[in-house]
Subunit: 189 residues, 2 copies
């Protein structure tokens, strides 16, 4: 997925603002010179974190109130209005797991789906320490656990894994040993 895939044009106007999504429209000139109303959405950006603790990776099982299923995921969530992505990542990891890190790096920045202006920032947080207690809100139930690097890559085969943006890269690491070792070094030094 390329970045900046779905920008809303400057001359678009917002025709609806919901609790999560905004709907924007504009008149688009077509290839034959005719015009059509084009529509695109905007939603809050999201952040997620590949967090290492010793030689393991911090993952979690998450439940949401409108589903009975638990989803394995990596820590993360929605950026607040005006909040820089790195700050969102630090806040979400602390709220969900109680862990913090002093060694952060942006790994990926992607627009995962057509017709929606929405960026997913994936960070690496190295050498995380438990420095607080999780404080999840009424809309989530989360339990954290540590897994090996190979167990982490195997999550790409779990159809409930809740971080689809990184699945292709996880699979590429399983095809390509050099790519896997490079990422492992990047995570664990």
């Amino acid at each position: 997925m390329s970045t900046r895939r779905n920008p809303i044009p400057e001359h678009a106007r917002m025709v609806f603002k919901g609790v999560l999504f905004e709907v924007w429209q504009w008149e688009q000139e077509m290839f034959d010179g005719s015009k059509q109303t084009f529509e695109r959405l905007r939603r809050p950006n999201t952040v997620q974190v590949v967090a290492t603790v010793g030689d393991e990776i911090l993952i979690q099982d998450e439940r949401q109130p409108d589903s009975s299923r638990a989803f394995p995921s990596i820590p993360g969530g929605r950026a607040d209005e005006g909040e820089a992505p790195l700050e969102s990542a630090k806040r979400e990891m602390m709220e969900e797991t109680g862990y913090s890190s002093e060694d952060w790096e942006l790994w990926k920045e992607e627009n995962p789906v057509g017709k929606i202006q929405w960026t997913v920032y994936t960070y690496i947080a190295r050498n995380c320490k438990k420095t607080g207690e999780p404080h999840t809100d009424a809309g989530e139930k989360i339990s954290s656990k540590l897994v090996s690097f190979n167990e982490f890559l195997a999550l790409a085969d779990d159809s409930n894994f809740y971080s689809p943006e990184i699945v292709p890269e996880m699979l590429r690491m399983r095809i390509d040993t050099a790519r896997r070792e490079e990422f492992k070094n990047r995570l664990f030094g």
Copy 2:
């Protein structure tokens, strides 16, 4: 990605209807008994086709009027209101490429993204023949070509490839020879 991931509950109400997206909301009881307004979108389902011609696969380069880039893709598009997915797939392949097939099979049915009720149907169409002329509308410019099975799988590494739903499966076929051969047999018999 599991199917039926984002159903809109029956008691939700539609609060906005755009040209492509509908916005639905409902009051959701949280884990602590409090309530919050939840929001979900609905959009037309889409279809796409892995189409074989002899021992090759039909792909295309597509341009849309609000972008200067061309995207490699497989034939497909949006289902019309009330149209069965298989009919949409046949119609889109004919409109975009002029090819038709008498041997169709549903390969995948997925809900690719959270918070949106939207299903992507991916079909296999075997032994396609050119039986008409493409008729693209004013909103697309499309040129078709034939590629080998391995060239098709290599598209998973093209960051502009416009069928992200099938990328993980294409990568899994490159990890797993048995999986690749099974799919190749399914395509070419």
